[in-house]
């Protein structure tokens, strides 16, 4: 746990006093202190290309009255600097008065250990794994022309001080191990990428030589793509595999259900609570409480314990994801979804681990039912236009389906759909729900936060596939 009050002339008593003083006449707000340590070690082109260590320390001070949020941050934790921020917040809110809401739920549950993953594995042994990855892949097949492998680890300690002196703390470890391989055969080049990670130590993810499985998977994706032919263009049936393809859920539905867009009525979902937005059998939750998952949080960045929020239950839209600010303005409670990238950024309602739950059909049944369509197994990223509801995601491994059988692999293509209607096109939900491997980062308003997704195999009756073959 970081002690933020032994670094300068600022004592806890000073901080408590300045915070209470500033927030007394506001509706909400807090002082957020953060210390993070992170590392990144990259092997590329047969060499250790970079090893970077970074340490960051700072505070963000927020005051909210009515609909106005005033925010000020600095990376100098000192009495002067905090007073300056306080003055800045007061000047923005000078004419708007509020009543401070002291209430914040409590929980003793923790979803990860207070560890520093960077210190738990020596640099030597990290370098050794990266070199093994490189040798393994390059020896595996003559077509391997480029290998990139990396470790990224961090430990983030936060403390939230609220008016009245209440303090909430959390220590968050996070790691990621990634392998990318490029193959070249008959003049064609294709890449395959795979990674794993979460909120445990590196060795929890690498035991039993698990790095080999990561290599095999990256190699497999690249090999499949070497044989790929142009993707079709137009509307057709799409079968999505389990796990990571759930970024469809994240883009199509998740963002549109974040509290801010719905308070502002700029989301295509803002007036659909209680309405049927998905086929029967479709249930979607956003869960911050799964042990050691990338998107899990013991408390969110406002100090609210996270929870499992039901977004869609059996096709009916139930809840939005809320931070304190949007919840207050919408007369509801925070769902523990208030997140920020770091102390430089304001809190926004964000996703954690977004999951579609299992149904009872099999992937086989889905494929057999398709005359002409595609089977998409792995994806790059996605994006959504919240207002029009249109979203895309990019396949990195997909196959054509002809007469109920999986055919040739097809080139990477963008799939586009309409968020509010796509889940009504889901006609089968598989019994094989899977979590993603722990690699997702979600971007919103310039802030990236770690998230997770999960889903079973699903069959979508109609979606536009953005290939080149008419």
């Amino acid at each position: 746990m970081s002690n933020f009050f032994n670094k300068s002339d600022l004592t806890r008593q000073d901080a408590d006093k300045i915070v209470s003083d500033t927030l007394n006449n506001c509706d909400d707000g807090e002082l957020y202190l953060e210390e993070s340590k992170s590392e990144s070690i990259v092997l590329d082109d047969n060499k250790i290309k970079s090893s970077n260590y970074s340490s960051d320390l700072g505070f963000g001070f927020r005051a909210i009255s009515n609909e106005v949020v005033a925010y000020s941050y600095s990376n100098e934790i000192s009495k002067d600097s905090l007073k300056n921020s306080s003055e800045n917040l007061k000047s923005t809110l000078k004419s708007i008065k509020g009543t401070y809401n002291h209430e914040i739920p409590k929980s003793n549950k923790k979803f990860y250990e207070d560890i520093n993953p960077i210190e738990q594995k020596s640099l030597d042994s990290k370098l050794e794994v990266l070199n093994k990855v490189n040798d393994f892949l390059r020896k595996k097949d003559g077509s391997v022309k480029q290998v990139t492998a990396s470790f990224a680890g961090e430990q983030k300690s936060i403390e939230i001080i609220r008016s009245g002196g209440e303090a909430l703390t959390d220590v968050r470890p996070l790691i990621r191990f990634n392998v990318s391989v490029m193959l070249e055969k008959n003049g064609r080049k294709e890449t395959g990428v795979y990674g794993i990670g979460g909120r445990q130590s590196y060795d929890d993810y690498l035991k039993n030589d698990n790095w080999k499985n990561v290599c095999e998977e990256a190699f497999r994706i690249a090999s499949v793509n070497l044989e790929s032919k142009p993707a079709p263009a137009g509307e057709m049936k799409v079968v999505l595999g389990p796990g990571w393809p759930a970024i469809l859920i994240h883009e199509a539905i998740g963002h549109g259900l974040e509290g801010d867009f719905n308070r502002k009525k700029t989301s295509a979902f803002h007036d659909l609570i209680g309405e049927k937005v998905a086929s029967e059998g479709v249930t979607i939750v956003d869960d911050g409480t799964i042990d050691n998952r990338r998107g899990s949080l013991t408390i969110d960045d406002e100090g609210t314990p996270t929870e499992r929020t039901v977004l869609i239950e059996n096709g009916i839209l139930k809840n939005f994801m809320q931070d304190r600010h949007n919840a207050r303005l919408m007369n509801t409670r925070s769902t523990g979804s208030g997140r920020r990238e770091n102390y430089r950024h304001i809190v926004l309602p964000r996703m954690r681990n977004t999951m579609m739950l299992s149904g009872n059909q099999t992937q086989d049944e889905m494929i057999k039912s398709v005359d002409k369509g595609i089977f998409a197994v792995s994806f790059g990223g996605g994006q959504v236009d919240i207002t029009s509801g249109k979203f895309v995601f990019n396949c990195t491994e997909a196959y054509e389906i002809n007469n109920g059988k999986i055919g040739s692999p097809i080139k990477g293509a963008t799939l586009i759909g309409d968020g509010p209607s796509i889940l009504k096109e889901v006609s089968m939900v598989g019994n094989d729900m899977m979590l993603d491997p722990g690699i997702g980062t979600c971007g919103k308003a310039g802030q990236g936060v770690p998230v997770g997704v999960a889903q079973p195999s699903i069959l979508i009756d109609k979606m536009t596939v953005g290939g080149t073959k008419l």
């Binding site: 260590y53 925010y71 100098e76 370098l127 990477g412 008419l470």
Partner: protein, 438 residues
Amino acid sequence: MVKDQEFLKSKASYCLDLAKKMGATDASVTVGHSISETVNFRNKSLEASDRSDGLALSIETYLGKRRSSISSSNLLDENIKTLIEKCFETTKITPEDEFNSLPDKNLLAKQISSLNLYDETRFENDKKIKYLKDLEESASSDNQIINTESSFTENKSNFILANSDGFCDGYKTSSFTTSCVTVAKDENSMERDYEFSSKRHLSDIKQAIELGNKAAKQTIRKLSPKKIGSEKISIIFDKRISKGMLSVFASAISASAIARGTSFLKDKIDEQVFADSINVIDKPDMIKGMGSQNFDSEGVNSNTLQLIENGILKNYLVDTYNGKKLNLKSNGRSGGTTNLYFEKGNISYEDLMKKDSRSLYITETIGHGSNIVTGDYSVGATGFLFEDGEFKYPVNEITIAGNFKDMFKNIILANDLEFEYSVNSPTMMIEGMTVAGK
């Protein structure tokens, strides 16, 4: 106030001295300070204010051909000392890499000319509020606009780059950025669009009323879109999308992608990669340029580069490390392009619009559908259908796809180039691309 050169220099030399004392053979350090203030408006009233004040330090230490780096926002001497110790310890056990080195001394920038990148004008928050009020007033004048969000950010930055070969320089920059996002609604649809302006000097920022009007107009014309069928069609890319093609091109000719062999433009120097009417230039010394620089992130002097001459690829973007791998000298592009642009074409915007009997005018793309290894391109798109130069209707929920190798050779540029951003392109047409829709 943003920290002055003296303060940053003293921190930089403290770091270099310390690294040397610990036994580093070489070192380089960047120290920067940045202050920015943002005011956000929504529906004609204040929504948020945000002040940020941030120091940043990054250090690289070398032991012969071994190298590692650290970065931090905590500039207390005690913390710097701990970090440099850690950095140097890491350097000792990092394997050697023959290409690791500081830039060649004779390539370092010697004379720094003023490019007028700093405007010391303080635009107080009260003035930002006045600007945004005017902006949102004009943006919401049509009753189909149901939501407006806008912001104004003022930023002042200063930095020093120093290395153990004696390079030590830096300069202040400023930027003023304002943007407006509007949402329009009719009985069939809800749509969003935007407009923004970003300049080094306050006086060059677009007028609030003009900006608001434009955002609103661009949003309203998107209402009640239709989906079209899948077909081959001529695509016209609005300037805000066509400049993205340049960014893809730039990443495909970065020395790092070339050295790693992961670019579809590898080994294409002196070959035709664009239509022969196309010229692409990267010019670092534009006065007040958003991408202007006196030297790159390693201190290397950067001159104007003609990247494409009559369609032929002439230069990669070279930094020291990847340059050594490729046996090329750095051309001062560590950190990428500066002010990158297509030279303007011969045809007017109006003539381009009616060149083909049927064309799709694209104003927005979504998704990360550019693959620089294969050149494959596939993105979601929004735009308008035109027939014989006549606006027909808005279009959405479609994708456009092709391969850059073919697309680049079929580019036709209008003559409407303007220098607004760090990457600039005229309106662009590419004939015969595949649209996937119904």
